[in-house]
Symmetry: C2
Subunit: 96 residues, 2 copies
Amino acid sequence: MITHTVFFTLKHAEGSVEEQNFFNAARQLANIPGVQHFSCLKQISTKNKFAFGLSMEFSSQALYADYTNHPDHTHFVQQYWADNVSDFMEIDYVLL
Amino acid sequence: MITHTVFFTLKHAEGSVEEQNFFNAARQLANIPGVQHFSCLKQISTKNKFAFGLSMEFSSQALYADYTNHPDHTHFVQQYWADNVSDFMEIDYVLL
């Protein structure tokens, strides 16, 4: 199982309508085939600069690639990610 | 539920005895009271600089604090973390 995560900050004030709209759109990513255990996260450590995260799991690299290339994902990236996210870092992992 | 993660690189070659010794010691952290779902992780994204991760969950901030202050944790930090880890970032999160 591959866990794909991304941690990020938004350009908007905490609790803003823009933040709510962003997460409403992000939650639709859970419907893309192959996505398992999708979660929207609040990052709470003071030891990094990120405020939020998204986490999901894929049972294979092929399904992860299908998700990356899925039109609903690329639409989200173009319509929401680019306009709303000010900084981010992706972290993917498997059990050691 | 609070998920505590740390992603890091080691000073040692991949597959080295030092790497194995480090993870053997790290896995003992799972025995500290309050630690749930402890995992050692291999970080696989090319979009960040980290090679490994540790992940665990706590049911409260109080149990997380107890873990941080537990002598087995502080011993691990002093005896293994400082000598073996070259770079790291902690990320903690809850469901949004």
